[in-house]
């Protein structure tokens, strides 16, 4: 198996291509939903850790690695579901049509960063309960982990960004 970061970098690039095909008006709607999803996760993680841990204990037991794995999987499932709904369903649509490659590609890559970066971070935090990597992590991996969305943004930043997205949506 190759370096684990390759999977996420590929996902990141795929999101960029999706952005170019869908257009930034639709992509920014997904961005908003991802910001809100990450805000909820980070808020729960910081403010409601105790009740959440109690909840985890009921189905993952008291074993700390099992709890960490369960926590990471729950966060990943939330992100996956929100992303799936955002792409498949009717979501927020922003002013602007497909065709401005810089914005189309940029918004797609931003979604890729938020989606793949968050999954990467939560799985890394739990010690990779799935996709067990073999061998040492590369220097790139170690450097990148500091720049992943949940490592960078606290919930305050995430809610501020979600509000800015909504302002950008309604600003005539």
């Amino acid at each position: 198996m190759g370096p684990i970061e390759l999977i996420f970098l590929t996902t990141f690039i795929i999101f960029g291509v999706i952005g170019v095909t869908r257009g930034y008006g639709r992509e920014l709607g997904v961005t908003t939903m991802l910001f809100i999803a990450l805000f909820v996760i980070e808020l729960v993680d910081e403010r409601y850790q105790e009740p959440f841990t109690r909840l985890l204990t009921t189905f993952a037991g008291t074993d700390e690695p099992a709890q960490a794995a369960a926590r990471a999987l729950i966060y990943c499932v939330i992100i996956l579901v929100i992303t799936f709904i955002s792409y498949e369903g009717e979501t927020l649509s922003f002013p602007g049509k497909r065709g401005r490659v810089f914005f189309d590609l940029g918004s797609g890559l931003l979604n890729g960063y938020l989606f793949a970066g968050s999954l990467w971070y939560y799985l890394d935090q739990a010690g990779w309960p799935i996709l067990k990597p073999v061998g040492e992590f590369s220097d790139f991996y170690k450097a990148m982990v500091n720049f992943l969305p949940p490592a960078v943004f606290t919930w305050q930043y995430l809610i501020a960004l979600a509000v800015i997205m909504l302002i950008a949506r309604i600003w005539k």
């Binding site: 922003f94 602007g96 049509k97 401005r100 914005f103 918004s107």
Partner: protein
Amino acid sequence: METLIILATVMALFGVLGYVRGARSSLLTSAIILLGLIAVGRAPETIARTINGLNVAVRFALSGGLGALGGGGDRAAALQEVFAKLGEVKPLIGSDGTGPGMILIFLALVLAGFLLGMLKPLKGRPSLLGLGLGLTIGYVLSAFLVRTFLPEASVGLRLPAWLFGRAAQPVPAPPADGTELTAALGTRLAATLNSLVESGQIALFLAIAIAAFVLLATRLGARTIKKG
């Protein structure tokens, strides 16, 4: 070489945008960016104090400082706890006008200039005057970018000293060859990113970049819809 690449890219970008947006819009955009850069060049200490102070204030608020100030009970103890949580806050900008915070200043200036330049009354037809203004402000901005991020560059971009003060002073001696300079650029970029992470300001930097991107994309999109 890197200096010329930066210069060509920034001047071309600003020149094209200036031409497309017309003279009035470019005039306001250029004026805002120019005034900001003059302020950065002439009073780097004041800018540094203000930005560093704002940085401490934001981190104080994020560490629960406002709650400690407004909450009941022992305010002194609560504040002490907040300051302990806050720890040492590294300055974003040095008194000589260097440091990772300069990225934020350049970004904020360009964003403010372009957003205000999009106001409806400033809308105009493509013009050569706009092109000239764009090229001029592109040159000045390039000079500041090179000075801030590539102080070792062999090609310094001259600026009028009477206007820009200390920022117009010559840069230090260049390194021996281009390979060293490329390595220096890589090292500097890595050092800038690491210092942003260490100072805890990477979130602010990325948040501003994302907000700027979204606002630019949606404002340009809204303009297209109105035209259509």
